[in-house]
């Protein structure tokens, strides 16, 4: 029994996991459709900021400002939806739109004001809580010290002085070079030269840095008492000195070009003309001193940088010394060589690939060229037979009185000499080619003739020999014509194959080497990793030591808190796997707030200016817009540019404030979700601000035109599906009746036929039905393409299956009821209408709903036949909601759910009937 129970528990668990996986997409759809943060793929499946806005947008769409402007423009110019509107209607529309516009503007202003006010109030209140923030940070600081201490204790035995130095150098080379505290702290611990020197230079630099600031201040004081041209510029420039020199950086040349030469030097050059000699001299001296000090500070900085670089260069060396007991450098060396070899192998492989492609091609060409030799060889063979017979006869002369040289024989001799190297080249290759034998045969036969050169010359007057010479001339010229190609191909072939051989050889040697290196790498790897571990432990010690020192100091101002967060959070995150944003929430909440405040201020200023401009443009328009409409209807072409200006203004500025608002919203979302000790009281206010921002963006964002058609599509779908359900159930019920109750010719075949055609999916008929509707539309317009009634008509063709189902149900209704009615004088039609049909109501209802669902879900036919956007059905329209951007996921999921939920409800309610019906029909859908 106990075992049984445990098994059930396991089974429940498995089923729940399966359910979670199966239903995940749907849960995602639901959560995305109601979230306001437009983060459809956020790891948080459910957002705390929930809205029904997406549903509202679809079910009760409202024009946003940009759309109102566009509609007004269209109405005035008679475009778009207003192409055929009458004058009166246009005027009414424009009045409505204009009122809508004004309302939107008023609402926006109210909302912007309230956001600003609320944030101002929060700001005031938060300012008073700074001490709390600081004490919170100090608490965390103590905790930090504790965990750092713990960790340092753990690491104590890992510390190794050589390695520690190497670790320091590592840290230093990763650290931003500066004179600041962090950098110095690491340098101070370093024993390796020139660390000491760097420290000295740092002191030097600091002095010079302070001197520069002091001198510029003195100069300001000196100048304060005098009046001369360009004084303000000079003072201003002197104040700016601190921007060019700091502990982190010095930008001497920039200062020189921007403030020294241009402003200070020029304006103080002629100061002697204005002031008394002595004072002018003091000022000039001070000025020169400033310049000199700045310059020498720069030199110091450069020296420091050089020293720093020297130090960093030693990192590798120090590291390999410190790690000499490990196979650290061996591993790195082997690894880098391995990489080079792998690169080489890849190169050779690609080369080989090319060769492997090229060689068959050239071989093919070669063989084709070689084939030309074959008929010539055959011809010459026949000629040889002829000559042989002749030579065997007694007509052969051994000598002649006058023997002209036969040119072709000489040529043939050269040809043989040319062909022989080709043959030799081919014999060296790996493969034996057909062309080789062809060439060989050609050479043999050519040679045969060449050897009998003298005899042929002597007997050239003989008609047989003359014929042979003729043949030889033709063959020679044919062969010599292909000789060029042949030579080229043979050479190429030989080269390529030779290259392939070389490459293969090279490859195999490289592979050997690679194998060796791989084994070296594998051998040294554990030791290398061990070394790395040690090193990283020491780095950790170095960094934590510094942090510990840093954390000792008490935090007193908000700037110090920021400094603490910036310095500590990264390292803490690295070594303790903490979420720094949450751990230091006390400070980060505040910084989020400051950022959000800034974003909101930014957005507010932009949106206010946009609203002001829009409002004045609108006021300008109000007086004359209706006149324009009248003018247009009188036939004058009107062109109101204000709308374009409005649209331009909108396009230019909307992104600006919307992006700021979006960022602010994200920050506010974080502030609500991750609250901290002192921020609880603001959550309510923040939520309201968030909502207001959302409302503003709803007023202003561009809304897709699809939203405005959504209800229309839904309506179309319902009209079509409802009509089809009613018509096809009635028609099917009538047709099913005789199949159930009467015996007639073709009954069996008819039933079989119905079964057969319901197996063919209608999607195949789309071509025929498309052209049928196209044709019908010419004569019966309401049944044409792109009409709802045409759509209803073709969906009604899908009744075969329904007839079959209803017939089955009629069979279960006993005949006796009808028989008694017939005896009482009713006719068949009456019994059918008054008895059978009411009794069959359950199946009729089920079939009607099933048909409704099928038609509602059908989109292929609909997308072909319904072409204009206002005739589409829901199923066609939904395709338009594909989510290309994160922002469009909300509308898409909401639209999907609006269609899915009624269907889901129908289905689950009728589960048993559907299963029964489909089991019978055995096909889904």
């Amino acid at each position: 029994m106990a075992i049984e129970k445990k098994r059930y528990w396991l089974r429940h668990l498995i089923l729940i996991i399966v359910l979670a996986i199966v239903l995940f997409p749907m849960v995602w759809v639901v959560s995305t459709s109601i979230r306001r943060d437009e983060a459809a793929f956020s790891p948080k499946l459910f957002s705390t900021r929930v809205t029904l806005q997406h549903y509202q947008n679809l079910l009760f769409p409202k024009k946003s400002i940009s759309r109102v402007i566009l509609s007004m423009q269209q109405a005035v110019h008679g475009l778009g939806d207003y192409r055929k509107a009458e004058e009166k209607k246009v005027k009414n529309e424009i009045t409505d739109l204009s009122r809508m516009f004004d309302n939107y503007i008023d609402d926006s202003i109210a909302m912007v004001d309230s956001i600003e006010m609320k944030f101002e109030a929060i700001n005031e209140s938060v300012k008073r809580k700074i001490s709390e923030i600081i004490s919170g940070m100090n608490d965390i600081r103590h905790q930090d010290i504790e965990i750092i201490d713990e960790r340092l204790d753990e690491l104590q035995n890992k510390k190794d002085s050589d390695l520690y130095q190497a670790a320091l150098l590592n840290v230093i080379s990763n650290e931003e070079f500066s004179v600041g505290k962090g950098y110095r702290a690491f340098i101070e611990q370093t024993d390796i030269e020139p660390a000491g020197e760097i420290l000295k230079t740092i002191e030097n630099y600091k002095n010079q840095y302070n001197a520069v600031l002091d001198i510029s201040n003195e100069l300001i004081n000196l100048l304060a008492d005098y009046e001369f041209d360009g004084k303000d510029d000079v003072i201003n420039s002197l104040n700016k000195v601190s921007e060019y020199i700091s502990q982190e950086n010095i930008s001497y040349s920039q200062w020189r070009s921007e403030h020294w030469l241009k402003v200070i030097n020029r304006n103080l050059k002629n100061i002697g003309d204005v002031l008394e000699q002595e004072k002018a001299k003091t000022i000039t001296n001070k000025k020169d001193q400033l310049y000199d000090t700045f310059k020498s500070a720069k030199a110091t900085w450069e020296k420091m940088q050089e020293l720093h670089n020297n130090l960093i260069e030693k990192t590798e060396e120090v590291m390999s010394n410190a790690l000499s007991e490990f196979e650290y450098s061996e591993y790195i060396d082997a690894q880098s060589r391995l990489e080079t070899i792998e690169n080489k192998i890849a190169q050779i492989n690609s080369k080989l690939e090319n060769l492997n492609e090229a060689i068959p091609e050239i071989k093919e060409s070669l063989n084709v060229a070689g084939l030309v030799l074959v008929p010539e060889t055959t011809k010459m063979d026949k000629a040889r037979e002829t000559l042989k017979t002749f030579l065997a006869s007694d007509k052969v002369k051994q000598e002649a009185d006058r023997a002209f040289p036969v040119r072709v024989l000489g040529n043939m001799e050269t040809l043989v000499e040319e062909l022989i190297p080709l043959k030799n080249k081919l014999s060296n290759t790996e493969e034996s080619l057909d062309v080789y034998t062809h060439i060989e045969e050609a050479i043999n036969i050519l040679n045969w003739f060449v050897e009998r050169k003298e005899l042929i010359v002597v007997n050239q007057d003989n008609p047989d020999v003359e014929n042979v010479i003729g043949i030889l001339e033709v063959s020679y010229s044919n062969i010599s014509r292909v000789k060029g190609d042949l030579t080229e191909y043979v050479n190429q072939y030989a080269d390529l194959t030779a290259e392939r051989k070389d490459k293969n050889k090279e490859l195999s040697s490289l592979l050997d080497e690679k194998e060796k290196l791989e084994s070296v790498v594998a051998e040294t790897k554990p030791s290398y990793e061990d070394a790395l571990n040690r090193l990283s432990n020491n780095i950790e010690i170095a960094e934590l030591n510094y942090l510990k020192d840093f954390a000792q100091e008490n935090i007193e101002t908000i700037d110090e808190a920021e400094n603490y967060y910036n310095t500590v959070s990264k390292t803490m995150k690295k070594y303790f796997q903490i979420k720094s944003n949450i751990r230091y929430r006390s400070y980060t909440w505040y910084s989020d707030f400051v950022d959000a405040d800034e974003e909101i201020n930014q957005a507010t200023s932009v949106i206010r200016s946009v609203i002001d401009k829009m409002r004045s443009m609108k006021q300008d328009l109000d007086g004359k817009i209706l006149n324009y409409v009248e003018l247009r209807f009188l036939g004058a072409s009107v062109d109101i540019s204000v709308f374009d200006e409005m649209t331009k203004l909108f396009n230019r500025e909307f992104q600006n404030f919307n992006a700021s608002y979006k960022r602010a919203q994200r920050l506010i979302g974080d502030m609500i979700d991750f609250s901290t000790a002192y921020s609880g009281e603001y959550i309510g206010e923040l939520r309201e601000v968030d909502r207001s921002i959302f409302k503003i963006s709803q007023i202003w964002t561009r809304k897709e035109s699809t939203y405005f058609y959504f209800m229309r599509w839904l309506f179309n779908s319902i009209v079509i599906a409802l009509s089809v359900a009613i018509i096809s159930v009635l028609v099917a019920a009538f047709a099913a009746y005789p199949f159930s109750r009467m015996r007639f010719f073709g009954r069996g075949q008819g039933l079989l036929f119905l079964l057969l055609i319901q197996m063919f999916p209608t999607i195949m008929f789309m071509i025929a039905i498309y052209s049928l509707l196209q044709f019908l539309g010419n004569y019966v317009p309401f049944l044409g393409l792109d009409t709802i009634s045409g759509m209803i008509f073709i969906y009604c063709g899908n009744i075969a299956f329904n007839i079959w189902l209803i017939k089955g149900y009629f069979d279960t209704i006993p005949d006796s009821l009808e028989e008694s009615a017939l005896i009482d004088g009713a006719n068949r039609l009456q019994t059918f209408w008054k008895i059978v049909l009411p009794l069959a109501r359950p199946i009729l209802a089920v079939i009607a709903i099933l048909t409704f669902m099928n038609v509602f879900n059908e989109f292929v036919m609909a997308s072909i036949i319904l072409q204009s956007i206002d005739k589409w059905t829901y199923a066609v329209g939904l395709q338009q909601f594909s989510g290309r951007f994160e922002a469009s996921w909300g509308p898409f999921t909401a639209a999907a759910l609006i269609g899915a939920i009624p269907m889901l409800t129908f289905f689950l309610l009728l589960q048993d009937q559907i299963v029964g019906g489909l089991t019978k029909g055995s096909v889904k859908g």
Partner: protein, 582 residues
């Protein structure tokens, strides 16, 4: 009683008469338009209906009349049509019948001869409530002779299917001393006394046409929008004016429609006599009136032969191509490769879908088939949800939400997030992964059905069998393979065949997710790696610019025959044949 009966009879006869009249009209139109298939279907249908209406024997059929009409027109005719089209080249470039194309060539192509008579024109419109209407008259002036003519608004001769005018015609009437008589009605041109500009044209009937627009009068530029948008694009674009010399005058393309000119029709019809096996045979051919050469017909296109012998393709028409569409599947390598790939994948897809759905469905059914397990009903209802939600919605959700390559949940959280993949998986654009995607989604959509039917089948297996098996010492696997599975198969096998047939044509499951893509490289048809036959057919017929209805129909027929085989198997399994014979 009998009066009422008589009344019903009369009403029925009345409707029948109207129906017959309507059908005769319809058949006439169909015949004229060369739609013989539909005409024959209608004739057969009407004869049937008339027969059953009058014959006593036909009484049972009377109930079926509406169903018959729907089935004939929407099922049987499309089947016939598909067969017919499969043997033609119907598609892009071959959208009209030959007579239609000949008419188009004769009527819609013009050329401006070398020395045309050119006319400047002035448009005068009637105003209503001070607004211009599209009631207008034209004033023409010959450029060479300054002869002037007035033309009334052209009459519409023909319109296309969208109601646009394809031909309108009017006549030019000579103007003498600012007066012209149009069909006996005198029209007077009113000219400004000050500067001689035209003001209006008035007629005897008191109608007043105000000077509105002329392309060489800059002062009327403000009216250009109305002229171009209303008058020129609707009325003048395809209008011809017959001048007194009986030449056609049309908008002159050579001056960018800024004036009118006499034009000639580009093509004409003439009769040629040729010798055919000893007999003189007369044939009508089209010829180019400008060059005098006959048009050439090949591959269902008309070609115009230029002077240098170059052939310029004109319009094409629908013509029979025999078995070409079927042969194309086997012979043309750029069609054959993708086609066989699709053919194979259709079977793989349907087969794997059935296997996956059935395995998962059966496993879940076995888990739920236990009376002692609590919450069975809830589990079942929740697990059915994927089936209950319309497939086209959930497929879109999968495509957009789960499989999106940059945002999608699967890549962003599962594979790149949890499993640490570096490259995003290209769910929809890589051939292999696209196949994985469609199968995943289809399994998700289909397993609840299998679960439900398996659950039903499992519950009908009597428990005694298992008890007996336990007594004989059978182990669990043995029980499953020896009892559960065979008994299950008896009722589920036909459903498996049915599901296979369904998935064989599961258009939504493929098309909405991947649109059949990614495209198979090197194919001349829009074939994709996840395309199944039905989606391929759809794309051939309705996708992009190049439509090929003929080839699509040929594939449809292949699908027809395959589905018929599955259906036959299915009836065999499910005993439907027995039910019919009962």
């Amino acid at each position: 009683m009998s009066g009422k009966k008589f009344f019903i009879y009369l009403a029925a006869m009345f409707f029948l008469a109207i129906y017959n009249a309507f059908v005769i009209w319809g058949i006439f139109i169909l015949w004229v338009n060369a739609r013989y298939g539909l005409a024959i279907v209608l004739v057969v249908l009407t004869l049937l209906i008339d027969y059953v209406s009058f014959s006593r024997k036909g009484y049972p059929y009377r109930y079926m009349i509406p169903a018959l009409i729907l089935l004939f027109v929407l099922t049987i005719y499309p089947m016939y049509y598909t067969f017919e089209v499969a043997f033609t080249n119907y598609g892009t470039g071959h959208l009209f019948t030959r007579p239609e194309v000949v008419q188009k060539l004769l009527n819609e192509y013009f050329y401006v001869p070398d020395d045309p008579v050119e006319y400047n024109f002035w448009v005068f419109v009637k105003l209503k409530d001070y607004k211009p209407t599209n009631d207008f008259v034209m004033l023409f002036e010959e450029e060479s002779s300054e002869n002037r003519h007035i033309s009334p608004k052209p009459d519409v001769i023909s319109r296309d299917s969208e109601g646009n005018i394809t031909l309108a015609r009017s006549e030019m009437f000579r103007v003498d001393n600012n007066n012209a008589s149009i069909n006996g009605v005198n029209h007077t041109i009113i000219v400004s006394k000050k500067d001689g500009n035209y003001l209006s044209i008035n007629n005897e009937l008191g109608e007043n046409y105000v000077y509105f627009y002329s392309s060489n009068d800059p002062s009327t530029r403000a009216n250009a929008a109305f002229f171009l948008g209303e008058i020129r694009s609707n009325w003048l674009k395809n209008a011809e004016f017959i001048n007194p010399q009986n030449y056609q005058v049309r908008l002159n393309p050579q001056t960018l429609y800024r004036n009118f000119a006499t034009v000639e029709r580009q093509y004409g019809m003439k009769t040629v006599t040729s010798l055919d096996s000893g007999y003189a045979k007369q044939k009508q051919v089209l010829y180019n009136r400008q060059t005098g050469r006959n048009l050439v017909e090949k591959n269902g296109y008309f070609y115009d032969v230029k002077k240098n012998g170059e052939e310029v393709r004109l319009d094409g028409y629908i013509s029979g191509v025999g078995f070409d569409n079927f042969l194309k599947m086997i012979s043309d390598p750029r069609v054959r490769g993708p086609f066989f790939q699709i053919f194979l994948w259709t079977f793989t897809w349907a087969g794997l879908s059935v296997v996956f759905c059935f395995t998962i469905g059966l496993a879940l059914a076995m888990a739920l088939n236990d009376r002692k397990l609590r919450g069975t009903k809830i589990y079942r209802t929740l697990l059915i949800i994927p089936w209950a939600i319309p497939a086209f919605i959930s497929v879109l959700v999968w495509r957009n939400g789960m499989f999106n390559e940059t945002y999608g949940i699967l890549n962003r959280f599962l594979f790149q997030g949890l499993l640490g993949f570096e490259e995003p998986i290209r769910w929809l654009s890589d051939p292999f992964w696209a196949k994985v995607s469609v199968l995943t989604v289809n399994t998700w959509l289909g397993f609840p059905y299998m679960m439900t039917v398996s659950l039903g089948a499992l519950q009908s297996i009597p428990g005694e069998l298992y008890e007996a098996a336990s007594i004989d010492g059978a182990r669990r696997w043995q029980k499953f393979w020896k009892i559960t599975f065979p008994l299950l198969m008896v009722s589920v096998a036909p459903l498996l065949v049915g599901t296979f047939a369904f998935n064989f044509n599961n258009f939504v499951g493929i098309y909405l997710l991947t649109e059949g893509g990614p495209a198979i490289p090197g194919s001349t048809t829009p074939a994709g790696a996840t395309d199944i036959l039905i989606s391929y057919t759809y794309k051939l017929a309705f996708y992009g610019r190049g439509q090929d209805f003929g080839f699509a129909s040929a594939i449809s027929i292949i699908i027809f025959s395959l589905v018929a085989v599955f259906s036959w198997l299915n009836f065999k399994f499910s005993g439907a044949f027995e039910e019919v014979r009962r």
